[in-house]
């Protein structure tokens, strides 16, 4: 039993080590590798926040929950479990890229990802990369990007984990996954589901959420095989969501939404002379069906297939200079009741460079040029640098040009789609400071983003809404993250994490704050552990956010607290159980006007390892 724990600790350690180990990956394959290793290697001057397992598990219902409590991202959520779109550094949902193992998975139709369709439990790690990532991750990585990564290892691993969850509003969830290695093989298989009646009270309104039922199912397979001079990997996931959409305080919910996605990525890494090469092929499939009346069969839908082929070669000179060249071809074919059948081809050439000039100074330059697509092909760049002033203090600086291409809905929607649209462009700068004194870590970042040609649907003559490249915005703000770990004795420890952000996001024409961007947001978690027992309190403050473009109406600020406790059996440390009480003070709150969030509720869970 103990050995298994050692393995887990070892794997976790190696994940961390490979993420921060700078330079050995060419000589030896590290024991645990990220499928998207570029994320760490070419983002030295960017802010990367990795969410640990224990943080994720505290808010495991959906990726929305996980990120709401642990980052400064604001989620515009139409009631619990409903459509949820992020605002990262004051940008909109289509300007936040979600990246799965290095591939941008934002919807072909909407350009965004609904964060309630993603289970946070399904990945080896979740990393938030703040700032522009257009060069590496393509369209939409403007405010920042969320990375869902799988890892693999050829160390001996034999773990199987099962989790069961039960909670208020008839919520049932479960997940099971197993990771096995033998010889040159690595295999990870998992399933995850949640289903909920979601019939919570609207606090103080004498109403109930009567039409918010949801089911989510996910399955994944990750496989890796060591070859003579390299590694072959396969990452695969399937997800299914079936949701009734909640009404608002003024309307009864009636509509429903079903979506299915599959994602597959095959990669072959080979060492050829001094080059480390990687060939990859990926297929993404998405399908949605929208039912205006959940009781009727009538629906409108769409489906899209995305094929990606890429080749990259990397060289590492004198343990100092890392160069990576990549060519990527993407073909998208989409068909929908409202957009007809259309396709898009893109060829992108990317050059990434990172140079460690000295122990203290590291800088990088990244370039991307696209060809073939239907727009004025953008040339994107980013430059970043990190300077470690001392053991306790480091400075980080980055600047980039990013873009977002029009979505298929923007281009082809019937009626209104505008085929003359051009990509949105944005420039940004960030200055960050990292402090670390013992177990106290802090990060303070200030950023500035200027965007133009933003696509906005506006009413034209005759009442027809059409998207045009019209608005200009300017976002700036600061973000502070604080982490502290204190071990009093062998038995007692305290873990503290908090973040705060101030966001000013202005429409330059109206000179008003953008809607659904709160000026202030703060969240914190404090956990106290004693032997096998731990207890935590989690708090979230969300400032007032405007809901109209003239800032005449808003959703109120709110503060929500959750508490939780868990216990691991001393005589069998493979079994852990516990509970959480969410919205302890039963406050009314909403993230979208007139769309209440849940009343006080309880969840219990049981996790065990086999």
């Amino acid at each position: 039993m103990k050995q298994i724990w050692l393995h887990i600790i070892f794997v976790v350690f190696l994940c961390t080590a490979s993420a921060y180990a700078q330079l050995d990956s060419i000589q030896h394959l590290p024991e645990v590798m990220l499928t998207d290793s570029k994320l760490v290697q070419f983002s030295k001057g960017f802010k990367l926040e990795k969410l640990g397992d224990s943080l994720i598990k505290k808010n495991a219902t959906s990726l929305t929950e996980t990120l709401r409590y642990n980052t400064s991202i604001y989620f515009r959520e139409n009631g619990f479990g409903m459509v949820s779109s992020p605002s990262f550094r004051g940008t909109n949902a289509a300007q936040t890229a979600v990246v799965w193992n290095g591939i941008n998975i934002n919807s072909v139709f909407t350009g965004q990802t609904d964060f309630n369709t993603i289970s946070p439990l399904n990945y080896s790690e979740i990393t938030i990369r703040s700032g522009g990532g257009g060069v590496q991750y393509g369209s939409g990585a403007v405010g920042g990007s969320i990375h869902l990564n799988d890892a693999y290892s050829f160390q001996k691993i034999d773990t199987t984990q099962v989790g069961l969850r039960y909670g208020s509003f008839s919520t049932v969830g479960g997940n099971a996954s197993t990771t096995q290695t033998w010889g040159d093989h690595y295999l990870n298989v998992g399933v995850d589901f949640i289903s909920s009646e979601n019939d919570y009270d609207y606090v103080g309104k004498n109403q109930k959420n009567t039409h918010g039922q949801f089911v989510r199912f996910k399955a994944k397979v990750n496989e890796a095989r060591k070859l003579k001079r390299g590694v072959a990997t396969w990452n695969s996931e399937y997800s299914y969501n079936d949701r009734n959409f909640s009404g608002s305080l003024n309307t009864k919910g009636k509509d429903a939404y079903k979506d299915v996605t599959t994602r597959n990525l095959w990669q072959l890494q080979q060492k050829v002379g001094v080059f480390n090469t990687k060939g990859s092929v990926a297929h993404l499939f998405e399908r949605y069906n929208y039912f205006p009346d959940s009781e009727k069969a009538f629906n409108t839908g769409g489906k899209a297939n995305t094929f990606i082929g890429a080749f990259q070669a990397e060289i590492f000179l004198q343990k100092k200079l890392r160069l990576n060249g990549k060519v990527e071809y993407t073909y998208v074919d989409a068909e929908g009741d409202n957009v007809g059948e259309n396709s898009r081809k893109t060829l992108a050439a990317v050059v990434l460079m990172n140079h460690r000039l000295s122990e203290k100074f590291n800088y990088g330059i990244n370039l991307r040029q696209e060809f073939l697509n239907d727009f004025d092909n953008p040339f994107l760049f980013s430059a970043d640098a990190k300077y470690s002033v001392s053991k306790n203090y480091a400075l980080r600086l980055n600047g980039s040009k990013n873009y977002r291409v029009p979505t298929f809905n923007d281009l082809y929607w019937y009626a209104g789609g505008n085929m003359d649209l051009q990509p949105e462009t944005s420039y940004q700068m960030e200055l960050g400071q990292e402090f670390s004194v013992g177990k106290l870590k802090a990060d303070v970042a200030a950023y500035y983003i200027s965007s133009e040609d933003l696509i906005k649907w506006v009413p034209g003559n005759g009442g027809l809404w059409q998207p045009i490249n019209i608005s200009k915005t300017r976002n700036y703000g600061i973000e502070a993250v604080l982490g502290y770990y204190l071990k009093f004795s062998k038995r007692h420890s305290l873990d503290f994490n908090a973040n705060y952000s101030y966001t000013k996001a202005e429409d330059l024409e109206k000179e008003k704050q953008l809607i659904y961007v709160p000026f202030h947001k703060a969240a914190g978690t404090m956990e106290y552990s004693f032997n096998y027992f731990s207890v935590y309190v989690q708090g979230l403050f969300n400032g007032e956010a405007y809901t109209t473009t003239d800032n005449s109406e808003s959703v109120d600020r709110y503060t929500v607290f959750n508490i939780g406790a868990q216990y691991t059996l001393p005589f069998n440390p493979n079994i852990t159980f516990g509970g959480r009480l969410k919205n302890v003070f039963n406050v009314y709150y909403e993230n979208v006007a007139y769309r209440p969030m849940p009343s006080r509720n309880l969840q219990i869970f049981l996790n065990f390892n086999i």
Binding site: T251, H492, I515, G524, G539, Y594
Partner: protein, 351 residues
């Protein structure tokens, strides 16, 4: 002891990070004794997630009150305040997405009752003969065969009968105890006027595509048809149709250009006004020739002419407060502008 202090310090830090209260609700605004002698504007409200409301502007322009229904009754009207109709002292406020009609005194806006059953995407209300109201209903907007008029018994405020009608019933006018229903066509297009008498469809009169507004003058019904928009793939010209109410027949049709799609017909005296391509046009009913004279620039969500003035609602970007602009029709100059609620869509008058 030292550890204890640290714990307390950190607990406080967490609390500080996240504490704040939120009990400052909207302050009620000044309520005049009554909303007599003035303009009432129904504001649809933001499309997805909000409540519409009603703005009052006094006849002498000295008093403007936003959100009068909520101020008086403490509750929101609901989502998409589509329109309002009247019978004597009573206002019937049609709230389409909330599937209901709120009933209030038109001068005090004290809530009297509401109709919450028997309505499916209700659009407009007219009253006939004192005891009966008619409400046009889309039914399921994706089903073109379930559209109907609900007949409201105004004594009990319940739906007493339903009359199945052609697809997409919208605005209605009453003349000689008959109801003329324009079938604009909901999310699609239609080209009919239904004539209702009692609870039966007496006849249907084909007009131009997308009849979007009507006015009655004497024995003539003027119907403004927008025509099919270009995105339908079968674009048709807008038209102005004259119907003789005595015969129930189309007496004359005037056509616009193929790509011209007029909206918001209104009438003052013998003059018709409507909106087309960012301009308000004036047409003399005595000698109709289209498009008439352009008198005012602007793209308005709705128009209402009365006593030598034109009241024009500007919905701006449909996501912020709109405005009501008042023009003097003798000079065609703007004389007033008032802020309204979000998406002002209906203009009414209290004497």
């Amino acid at each position: 002891m030292k550890t204890m202090k640290r714990i307390i310090f950190m607990t406080l830090t967490v609390l500080l990070f996240v504490s704040c209260s939120s009990d400052d609700d909207n302050q009620p605004e000044y309520i005049p004794a009554a909303f007599e002698k003035g303009i009432l504007i129904t504001n649809e409200g933001p499309f997805n997630n909000g409540s519409g409301n009603i703005t009052y502007i006094s006849e002498d322009y000295s008093t403007v009150v936003q959100n009068i229904f909520k101020n008086v009754n403490g509750s929101n009207l609901g989502n998409i305040v589509q329109s309002m109709g009247f019978q004597d002292n009573i206002a019937y406020i049609v709230v389409s997405n909330s599937q209901k009609i709120e009933i209030a005194n038109r001068y005090t806006f004290q809530r009297i009752d509401s109709v919450t059953t028997g309505l499916v995407n209700p659009r407009y209300f007219v009253s006939v003969g004192g005891n009966k109201g008619y409400v046009s209903n889309w039914g399921d907007p994706n089903d073109n065969t379930d559209d109907y008029l609900a007949v409201l018994d105004l004594r009990t405020n319940t739906v007493s009968a339903t009359i199945p009608v052609a697809f997409g019933p919208e605005r209605m006018v009453v003349a000689n105890n008959k109801i003329y229903v324009a079938h604009q066509g909901a999310y699609g297009q239609n080209n009919l006027i239904s004539v209702i008498s009692g609870t039966t469809v007496e006849s249907t009169i084909p007009v131009g595509d997308v009849p979007n507004s009507m006015v009655v003058s004497g024995n003539t019904l003027y119907v403004l048809c927008g025509g099919n928009p270009s995105y339908t793939g079968s674009e048709t010209a807008g038209s102005l149709v004259k119907i003789d109410l005595a015969t129930g027949q189309v007496s004359q049709t005037f056509s616009f250009g193929t790509t011209q799609h007029p909206t918001s017909l209104t009438m003052d005296g013998a003059k018709l006004f409507y909106n087309l391509d960012g301009k308000v046009y004036k047409v003399d009913t005595a000698s109709i020739s289209l498009p008439g004279a352009d008198i005012i620039n602007g793209n308005f969500y709705t128009l209402q002419a009365k006593d030598g003035k034109l009241y024009a609602a500007d919905a701006k970007d449909y996501a912020s407060r709109g405005s009501l602009i008042i023009y003097d029709l003798s000079t065609n100059q703007q004389i007033q502008e008032f802020e309204t609620g979000i998406v002002p869509g209906g203009i009414y008058f209290n004497e």
